[in-house]
Assembly symmetry: C2
Amino acid sequence: MTASLDRAACEALDAADPLAPLRERFLLPERVIYLDGNSLGALPRTTAARVARTVETEWGRDLITSWNKAGWIGLPRAVGAKIARLIGAEADEVVVCDSTSVDLYKLAAAALSLNAPRRVILAEAGDFPTDLYILQGLAGSVGAELRMVAPEAIEGALDQTVAVLVLTETNYRSGEIHDMAGLTAKAHAVGALTVWDLSHSAGVLPVDLNGAEADFAVGCGYKYLNGGPGAPAYVFVARRWHERFRQPLSGWLGHARPFSFVDDYTPAPGIDRAQCGTPPVLSLVALDEGLNSFEGVEPKALYEKAGRLGDLFIALVEQRLSGHGFEIASPRDPARRGGQVALRHPEAYAICQALIDRGVIPDFRAPDVVRFGLVPMYVRFADLWDAVEVLLQVMQSGAWKDARFAVRAAVT
Amino acid sequence: MTASLDRAACEALDAADPLAPLRERFLLPERVIYLDGNSLGALPRTTAARVARTVETEWGRDLITSWNKAGWIGLPRAVGAKIARLIGAEADEVVVCDSTSVDLYKLAAAALSLNAPRRVILAEAGDFPTDLYILQGLAGSVGAELRMVAPEAIEGALDQTVAVLVLTETNYRSGEIHDMAGLTAKAHAVGALTVWDLSHSAGVLPVDLNGAEADFAVGCGYKYLNGGPGAPAYVFVARRWHERFRQPLSGWLGHARPFSFVDDYTPAPGIDRAQCGTPPVLSLVALDEGLNSFEGVEPKALYEKAGRLGDLFIALVEQRLSGHGFEIASPRDPARRGGQVALRHPEAYAICQALIDRGVIPDFRAPDVVRFGLVPMYVRFADLWDAVEVLLQVMQSGAWKDARFAVRAAVT
C-alpha cells in the first residue's frame, strides 16, 4: 500500500476483484457497512424462501413424513459434507449437530477417553471463553486436569502427560492463526491428541485438517458459514478414529439403529455417533443455504481477498487515524491473520457504539478491542475506506464521548 | 360410551366441545387425519410469518444488533416462562436450551454431583431410548452406575444407594402415566433426587412440578408444544437447587457475565447456568410461536378432552375392529393415560404404512405398536370415527399386506 490511498483507489480494487459478484448472493441492508460477519454472517439471498418452504410445506403440509420425504434425517450429514470441502476433510468425516460448546465437550471427552490414563487437557489462556468454560466443566466432571497456558508457552507445555491439546486455530480477538500442522505434529510427537476449533477459520481460510493430520475439530455455523443466528455447529473426526472414538453425549441419533427403540446404546458406525438429539431443523436448513452460498468458491481465493482487505484496512488506519490512540492488535502478515483486524483503544466500547450509531457495524471484545470482520464474500474495498472515514469523524468530533456517557449511564 | 356410536354421535361431541375453536389456531393439510402430533406437533397459523420476520428483518436487516434489539438473547428465558405455566413451575425455574438428550445429561450429572458420594442412577427399562442412552453415556463418563428396572420394580429399587431417579412421566409408547408426586416423595424419603422427562406430558397433562416437589425436569419442544421439527428443549430446576446445582456443559451462555470474555467460568445465578452455547434462534422463535398457541388455554381442559378422545377411540376400536387382532396397549383409565392410545398388532408396521398411504397418520413404535396421538388442540372426535373407518377398510381389504410386502422388499 502506498501513501496515495483514496476512495477511487479502493473502488478500483473492487472493480478488479474477481470475487466481487459474490456479494450479490446476500441481502445486505442499505446504508450499513457490515463488518461483523465473523460474529453473525449476513443473510444469503435464498435463505428466506428455503426456510419458508420448510415451515409451510415440509412441516405444515407433510408433517412427520418430512423426516424421510424431505430428507430431514439426512441433513446433519448432507450439510456436514458441504462443510467438509471447506476444511480439508472427507464428506464422511463431518456431521452437523448441537452447538460448538456441546460439540467441544463431546470431542474433548472422546480424546481424553482414547488417551487414558493421561488426564491433562492443554488449552490456551485467552482462547474463546466458551471453549475454556466447557473444558473446565468437563475436567470437573470426569476428573481431568485443565492446564491453560499463554499462546507462546503452548509448545513448551506439550509433554507426555498431555492427553489432548484443544486450540482455536484463529484467535477470536486478534485473528492470529496457529500453525495447525506444526502444533498437531508436536502434539502427536508426545502422544497427545488434538481438538481444533475452526469457528473463526472455516469459510475464510483454506483449512486443511487432513493435511495437518488433525484428530478432531469443531466449528461454528453462524459466522463465516452464514447459517443464521445460533445455527448448529459441526464435528470433524478423522477417519482413523471412527472405529474407536466414543463420546459421552450418546443420544439416540448417534445410535446404530435409532428407530429400533432398544434399551442399550450401540454407537453408529463412523461420524454419526457424534450426533446426539434431534437437530433443530429450521436452523439446520438455514445453515444448508448458508453453505450453498459457497458454491463454486474456493477457500484459497477467499483467503487471498481477506488478506488484501486486511492489508488495506491496516494501511487506512495508519494513514488516516494516527494520533487517535489506536493500536493494531492483529498480525500485519496476512499469512498469520484470519478474516478480521482488531484495533485496541482504551475507549473501544464507546467508539464501537458510536460507529454502530452511524451505520458501521464492527463489534467490541472486552476489555479494549474493536474487531472488524472483513468477510471476503461481501465486504468491499471501498467499504473499508468509508468505515475508516466514519471512524475518523467519530474521533475528530469527539462523538464517541456521547456514546461513552450514554453507555455508562445505562449501566449504573 | 354406548353401543350406539356412529359418526353423528362423534360430530355431536365436536359441536359441544368448548376447545373445538382451538383447531383454527393451526394450519392442517386437507384430507389428512393427523394423529402424530405427539411426535411432531402441527404448524401454528402464526409461525410462518414470525419465522419470516426473524429471517428477513431481524437477521437480514438488523443483523448482529438483533441479539439486543429483537431480544434474541432473552428468548431462552422468555420462552421458558411460557412453558413454566404449563408444567407447574415458576417463570424463573425454566429455560429453553439444547435438545432433550443434552439437557438430560446436564441434569442427571448435576443431580449425581449434588448427591455424591452416591453414584447410582435409577431408570426404567423401556423408557424412551435416548434417555437410557444418555444415562449410559453419563455413567460411563463419570463413573456412575446405571440401574434399569422394570416399571413395577421402580419403587422397590429405591434405596439409599440411589443418587437420582430419572423417569419419563408419560411413557412414549403406552401413554401410561407415572405418579410423579408419589414417586418423588418415595425418592426423597431415601435421599434420592429426581429428574422427570416431560416430553410426552407437557402441553397435554396438567403437570405440577412444584406441587410434586420435583427437583429437576426436562422436556421436548416439538411434540405437544408445537415448536416445529427439532425445536429446542427445556430445563426445569426447582428454586431450592438454584444456588447449588452445577452442570458440566458449562458453556458461555451459562456464565454469570457471558460478554466479559474472562477465562474462568463463574455460573450465572439461578436457572441461567443451565444454558450452554448459542441457541438456534430460528428454531427458538418457532417454539415461542408454538407456545403462543396455548394462550388462554388451561392444561386441565386439554387433559379432560384428551381423556375423552382416548375413551372414544378405545370404544371405537373395540366396537368396530374386534376380530382383527388388535390389543389395547394403553391404560383404559384416562387418569392413568396421556394423550395417546397405543394398539398392539403383530403387523403393526405394515398397518401403519397402509394408514399413512390413506391419509391417516399415526406412528409405528417397534416392535409391534401403532401409536395414535390424540392432541386435544386440533384432533376432533369425528376424526377418530374416520380414522377407525379407514383402519377397518385396511384390515377388511387386506390392503396392509401390500404395504408389508412393499416394506420388506424395500428393506432387502
